[in-house]
Structure formats: C-alpha cells, structure tokens
C-alpha cells in the first residue's frame, strides 16, 4: 500500500527565523492509520501539522527543501483551499473556530463556501451532525454549548467534506477530563467507521492512549526522535528524556525499578499484564515513606454557607463552606459550569453572595469594594494577554501601585523586589513583546504580587500550555508558596496539576461542594470523579492491579517521591549553576 502522507528529506525554515524549524523529516503515514504526534513546545510538531494542511507554505511563508505528498497532492501547489478538501483540521481554540451563528451553520460553513446547493447541504449537515452526536442541537448558538460540544461541532464541520485525513491540533487543551475522554472515544469511532487517517497532535499522551493508536511519532528540535508502536515506546525512556510526561502508571513501574516489556501491553493499564511487576511495585510502595503532613496554620479565607444565583430560580452555588489555611496550595475543580469561576468572582467581589459570608482572617469582607479586596486577594486571569496593559515590563508591574498613589521610591523598591522574586529582574527594561508565554504569565503574576496580597487566586494557570511551560509555571508558583509562604488557590480542570502541586482540592459539582480532601484521595474515589467529570488516576488502577489496598496512599507516596526527585534535580542544577558562576569569577 502506498503512504497517504510522505515526507522525504523535508526541511522548513520560517522566513523570519534563522534556524530551520524542521530538519530532514522522513515520515510515512499509511491510509487508515491513527498516529499520535507528540513533542514539547517549540519541538516543531505544530509546524509539521501546518505542512500537512497547507498553511505552510501558503499562509506562513518560508523556505522548504525535500518533498511532501499528502493524498497525492503537493500542499504548496494545491494551496490551503485545495488541501482542505482532503485534510480536515480541528484547531485547539474551540471558540475561535466556531464561526457560524448556530451549530448547523457552522457545520455547513465549508459547504457554503463550496457553493453546494441548499437541499444537498441539509442532507450532508444532518449526516455529519449525527456522526458527532450533535443532531439534537442543530439550532443552538455557541454560547449555549460546552467546550466539548463546540469541539464536536468543529469536527462535524470538517466531516461534511469527505476528507481522507483528520488532523487534530491539541484537541484536549481546553476540555475537562471527562469531555476529553469523550473526544478521544469519538475520534476513535469515527476513524473506524469512516476509514479515515487520523493524526493527533498532543502532549497529553496518557489521555490520548485512552483508545489505541497505531504509532507514536516523537518530535523534538525539529527532528523525529522516535517513531514506534505505543507498547514499544512506553518500554523505553524516550518520552521522559525528550521532556514529556509518560503515563503515570508507567512512571510508577519504572520508579519501582522494573523494566517494562512491550509484550505486556503497557498501552492501557486496564489491559496490561501487571503480574511481572507486582512484586517490585509492592516493594517500592512499602519502602517509600508517606509524605509528611503539614502543620495546621491559622485560617486565612473562609466561606460560610455561601449561595449565589443570577436569578432566584437558578442557583449557581449552594451552601458552599470551606476554610483555606495560611500557606496552603488548594485547587478548585469540577466540570464547566459547576461554579468554579463564580466562586472566584464572589471572593473578589465582582458579585455578592445571595446568602452566606466570606471571611478573610476572620473578618467579613462584604463591606469591602473590589479595589480594596484587590489589595488582599490577587486574581490572575487565564491568559496573560487579558491582563497586560502596558508595553514595558516595569510599567506593567508597577501599574497597580501607581494608580494607588504609592510614592515613587517605594514603588521602585517593591517592583524591583517582586521582579527579583519572579526571576524577571534582569529583563525589567524589556518590552513585554520580547517574552515567551511563560514569562508573560510571570509578568501578570508579578503585577499582582507587587501589591502583597494575602492570597493569590489563579484561573486555569496552565490552560493551553504544554508540559514544559506548564512545569515552568507550576514550579514557579510552588516556589512562591514555599519561599514567601504565599497562599494559593487554583481553579483548574487539569488532574496532573491538582495531583502534583496542590495539598488539597475542593470539588464542585452543580454548585455543591461535594468533596474537600487530598487530591490523591479524590482521584482514587470513583463516586466523586464520576459526579464531577474528573478522571480517576491510572495510579489507582495500578494499585488495584498490584493488590495494594490503600490506592490513595499509593498515589500520594508516588507524588511525594516524584517531588523529591525533582527537587534533587533542581538543587543539583543550582549547584552546577553556582559552580559555573564561581568558575567564571575565578577566570
């Protein structure tokens, strides 16, 4: 059989850049295959995708070398329009690509542009809507849909054309875990029934592997680092070496000192033959110390039976009570519309609770204005672009103090101290535009931190971030938490974040607080994960398969073990850094 996509000695360099983004790519993908392309950010995996759908070199110009054939066409000659008939692309931004005013019109969009007559259009839209299970929502507007539903509409929008190839660019980036699982299942079903070739670009490897893929192509530094069957790849150390997250159960088995054999099918924990590893995992579990429990500090923020509704009939939050202690790192989780953002808005004073009280250090904050609360409670929005309002870093960070009329020299001192804490001091006179996304995020955090808040609330701090940026941001926050004892509350739907970085999680479902416990306990509790659209961690399945009774304890020991490894690495890096500096000085 001939490949449907073939890269031959293919290289590409963006016009504005000096270095090539792709080097000597040789890759064959055959009709009907399902391929996962994984790689850290900046690895070239998105560039690879843009080559396949023709955006490169038609919209993003640059120099190419070698050859690329996609479904018998040369993208360069066929153009973006020509390619769109054969390759359907689903982007990660669920709002940006939903163009129509209703579900039906959005699915019909490509047909309209192709001058398809209306009666044929109705038929094809109905069929596509059925495939993506949106038939009952044809006249809904995007505002009435969840992120997962919008993504299904986008998928429907490319399925109306009988494309040969479906290309998904980070399909899980904006979805809660349950919706992500449904998306992966739907992609798999469509791949089977429609006999299309599927390419998924993602770094959440464990989540994609919820259903089988044929091969995983690992891209890094513009080159293909590996092209293997999942079972083979997971038996190697390539993923962690290239800066990506392995499935947690795979990492756990490796920590236990066992080498994984591809014949045991490590692709899915449910079907994996765990028997050969049971002894090692159990031993590791016995020997790994449980994490030390934190001493209880005084209560900083307290919600006392808080309820809220935009109208009296529809309650967004009902009788929510919890306490957050000084120096804690707490996550707030739950599906879209469960009331997470509303809770943050109530704490910041954008709305007032219809009943109940919110207390900060024991004082009811109801009488405080938004601005007054802003001095004690810092809110960081999801995207730094929603917050940055000055072109220069120094101006941006000082803004909150300037408008409060703080004296000039005090501003300078506080801004410089904050910039040092955030690792931005050496760039203080740079324009914001020169920064990476992660650095911009730090600027937006610094601009809040400069006001010395008691507690920092972050809305989806890692949404749309890959593993490296994610780790960079989260390590930074953890560092703040440890070094200056900052209390941090994070709204998230990222299970890794919750498990690895927070001490405690509040779980909301339909406006009710249904759990308030350690993340390890929550993510191994089937009842809670089901009700809140979370996903049980695969560590739970591993623990069960190894006859370890207390799955939550297993998960929390795993996390604290990982933590120790990472801290050791970091200290070692700092040591070498210091040593290098010392050497420089000696010279």
């Amino acid at each position: 059989m001939d490949p449907i996509i073939e890269f031959k000695d293919f290289s590409f360099r963006y016009r504005a850049q000096q270095e090539a983004s792709l080097h000597d790519i040789n890759l064959k993908i055959y009709p009907g295959e399902k391929i996962l392309i994984a790689g850290p950010s900046g690895s070239g995996k998105s560039t690879l995708a843009h080559c396949i759908n023709g955006l490169i070199p038609c919209s993003f110009t640059g120099e190419t070398a070698g050859t690329l054939t996609v479904a018998g066409l040369t993208p360069e000659k066929a153009g973006v329009f020509g390619m769109s008939k054969r390759v359907g692309t689903v982007l990660q931004d669920t709002d940006g690509q939903f163009i129509g005013l209703t579900v039906a019109e959005d699915i019909a969009f490509a047909l309209e542009n192709d001058k398809v007559p209306q009666d044929e259009m109705f038929r094809r839209v109905d069929r596509a809507a059925e495939m993506v299970q949106m038939k009952d929502h044809l006249d809904r507007s995007p505002a009435e849909l969840s992120g997962g539903q919008k993504q299904r509409v986008s998928l429907g929008g490319v399925l109306v054309d009988d494309v040969d190839i479906l290309l998904f660019d980070e399909p899980l980036a904006n979805l809660d875990p349950a919706a992500g699982k449904r998306t992966i299942a739907l992609i798999d079903d469509i791949a089977r029934t429609e006999k299309v070739t599927v390419i998924i670009i993602e770094h959440r490897i464990e989540d994609v592997l919820y259903r089988d893929v044929d091969r995983i192509v690992v891209v890094n530094n513009g080159r293909i680092a590996a092209d293997l069957k999942p079972d083979d790849l997971l038996s190697t150390d390539i993923l962690s070496a290239e800066g990506m997250r392995e499935p947690l159960y795979v990492t756990a088995i490796k920590h236990a000192g066992a080498a994984i054999n591809p014949a045991d099918h490590p692709q899915h924990i449910e079907q994996m033959n765990v028997a050969p590893y049971r002894e090692a995992v159990r031993n590791w579990y016995e020997l790994t110390p449980a994490p030390a429990s934190r001493p209880q500090s005084e209560v900083l923020l307290e919600a006392d039976q808080v309820s809220f509704g935009y109208t009296s009939r529809h309650q967004v939050l009902q009788d929510v009570s919890f306490r957050i202690r000084k120096g804690e790192m707490v996550s707030v989780v739950g599906q879209n519309g469960a009331g997470k953002s509303t809770l943050a808005a109530l704490i910041c004073g954008f709305y007032s609770p219809s009943s109940g009280k919110i207390l900060l250090e024991g004082e009811d904050i109801a009488p405080l204005s938004i601005k007054e609360r802003g001095e004690k409670i810092g809110l960081v929005m999801q995207s730094p672009n929603q917050m940055i309002s000055k072109p220069m870093i120094y101006e941006e960070v000082s803004l909150g103090l300037t408008v409060r009329g703080v004296p000039e020299d005090e501003i300078r001192e506080r801004v410089e101290r904050t910039l040092r804490i955030c690792g931005l001091y050496t760039m203080r006179n740079w324009p914001v535009s020169a920064l990476s996304f992660g650095q911009k995020k730090r600027v937006s955090i610094a601009s809040i931190l400069v006001m010395n808040p008691e507690i920092l609330i972050l809305d989806e701090p890692t949404a749309g971030q890959d593993y490296r940026h994610y780790t960079e941001i989260m390590e930074f926050l953890r560092d703040l938490n440890r070094r200056i004892g900052l209390t941090i509350m994070m709204i998230t739907h990222d299970m890794h974040l919750m498990l690895e970085y927070t001490d405690r999680a509040l779980v909301l479902s339909d406006g009710h607080l249904i759990a308030d416990d350690t993340p390890a306990a929550i993510l191994t509790n089937e009842d809670v994960t089901d009700r809140a659209s979370l996903k049980k961690t695969s560590l739970y399945d591993l623990a069960v398969a190894c006859d370890i009774g207390d799955a939550a304890a297993f998960a929390s020991r795993f996390i604290s073990y990982e933590r120790r490894l990472r801290d050791e690495e970091k200290n070692a890096a700092e040591e070498t850094g210091k040593a290098e500096n010392l050497q420089k000085e000696v010279r």
Partner: protein
C-alpha cells in the same frame, strides 16, 4: 451588565418573513419617518408600528430596559432643542402664537410646542420598528438575504461575524474590566480627565490585544474551511422569498409613496392643523 436586544425565536408571520423584507421595511420606515413632518402621516405610522409590534408577540421584558434609555435620551434632546432654539417652530411654520411667557426671551408658543410634539412622535414611529427588526430577524438569514440583493457576501458575512462574536467580546470585556478593577484601575474613579483616559487605556488595551489575536485565529479557521474561494457562495440559512414577503414589500412601498404624496402635497413637508 448592559442588556442587549437580541433575536428570539418564535413563530409568528413576522418571524417567518425574510430578513431582507424586514430590513427593507425598516430602512424605508426610517427614511419616511425622517422626511415627513406631517402629523397625520406620523400618527398612522405609529398605529401601524404598534399593530406590527403586537402581531410579532414581542414581550415588554425583551425591550423594556432599552425603551427606558431611549425615553431619557428623547427627553434630553427635546430639552436641548427648547433651550437652544425656542423659536424653531415659529420659523418652520411661519406663524407665532404665544401660549404663555416663561422667562427672559423664552415664550412657550403653540408653534414650538407642536414642532416638538412632532419631533417626539417621530421617535415613537421608529422605536417599535427597531424592536421588531432586531427581535424577530434571524441574523444568519439576514446575512444570506443581504447577499442575495447584491451586497457582497464578504460584507454580509462580516455582519454575521459581528453578531456571532458580540457576546464573546462582551464577556471578555467584563472579565477584563473586573480583573483590572481588582488591581485598582477603575474608570469610575474621580480623577482628572487625562488620568481617566489613561486608565481607560489600561482596560481597553488587553481587550484590543485579545481581539487582534482572535482576528488571526478566526481568519485561519475560515481559510482552512475554504472561505473566499469563489465569487459566490450558498447559504444554509437562506429562505426563499414567499408571497407574504412580496406583499409586505409592495404594501410598504405603496404606503411610503402615498405618505410622501400627502406630505409634500402643499410643497412643504411641514403640516400644522392651523395652516
């Protein structure tokens, strides 16, 4: 949060009319209301508007808050006319009959009062038409029918995109404004004008920046799905013009012509009961 007027689905014969029929009616109605100062014509127009309003089953809750805003604006405008030009009515009608004296140069004349009454009822001829148009017209179908009467589909589609993204941009705006307010950047603060503009800049800039990003994302998504490939396109939401559409269009046209004939019968568009 400001409540915007928006399309609400229903099934009356006004809803079933094509968007272009309602747009043409709306534009002709606005033009006629702007041109005529014939009180008889204006009163008939109000009557027709109110009947149409009732037939469209538009509810007061859908439009009430906006109605209050426009009333306030109208009263201010009338006050401004009187304060600045108390003799405008006399100049228009060429007569002057003092009802009572107010103060200084200000007399309340029959002519001014009648002129201002006409200005006022002009508002009432248009308001129901705006409400009906916005509340009963499906925006996608409107874009489709605008394209059919010769407006380039790129422009028609721009309108569709505007209506699609108004709620998203509004949500972004409120979130950004709240977050900036928590940082201490308020627009309502009592500050000097220049300072207030600078603070507004701090709130608008992130919104503008994210909107520019949105323009890139949406353009890419549209290009990937073949927008602009041909000189023409078809529309999912297109509705054929039916008999009712032609009847309404013809009826409106006849009414407008008759109304203009009546208005300009004596060579002037102003009519007063005493002339």
């Amino acid at each position: 949060m400001a409540k915007l007027l928006s399309y609400e689905e229903n099934d009356t014969w006004i809803h079933r009319l094509s968007g272009i029929t309602k747009l043409m009616f709306f534009l002709m109605w606005c033009a006629l209301s702007a041109m005529t100062y014939d009180t008889r014509v204006l009163l008939v127009m109000i009557l027709i508007s109110l009947i149409a309003f009732a037939v469209s089953k538009t509810k007061w809750q859908q439009v009430g808050s906006v109605f209050k805003v426009i009333m306030a604006f109208m009263i201010l405008n009338l006050a401004a006319i009187f304060v600045m030009s108390p003799e405008q009515g006399c100049a228009i009608y060429g007569t002057r009959k003092v009802l009572f004296h107010i103060a200084g140069n200000y007399d309340m004349t029959r002519d001014q009062l009648f002129y201002m009454f006409n200005v006022m009822i002009k508002y009432f001829t248009v308001i129901p038409a705006v409400f009906i148009f916005l509340v009963t017209t499906n925006p996608s179908e409107l874009a489709a029918s605008m394209n059919r009467v010769g407006i380039p589909y790129t422009i028609a589609y721009s309108l569709s995109i505007a209506l699609r993204y108004i709620p998203d941009v509004q949500g972004d705006f409120h979130r950004i404004r709240n977050a900036q307010e928590a940082r201490g950047i308020e627009m309502s603060a009592k500050a000097k004008l220049f300072e207030r503009i600078r603070r507004t800049a701090s709130i608008i800039f992130p919104l503008l920046f994210s909107s520019m990003e949105r323009i890139d994302v949406v353009s890419n998504a549209m290009e990937l799905r073949g927008f602009g490939k041909y000189k023409k396109r078809t529309w999912y939401a297109m509705k054929p013009l039916r008999r009712a559409d032609y009847l309404v269009l013809a009826g409106t046209l006849i009414f407008v012509i008759c109304a203009l004939l009546v208005t300009y019968a004596d060579g002037s568009r102003f009519w007063a009961y005493w002339l």
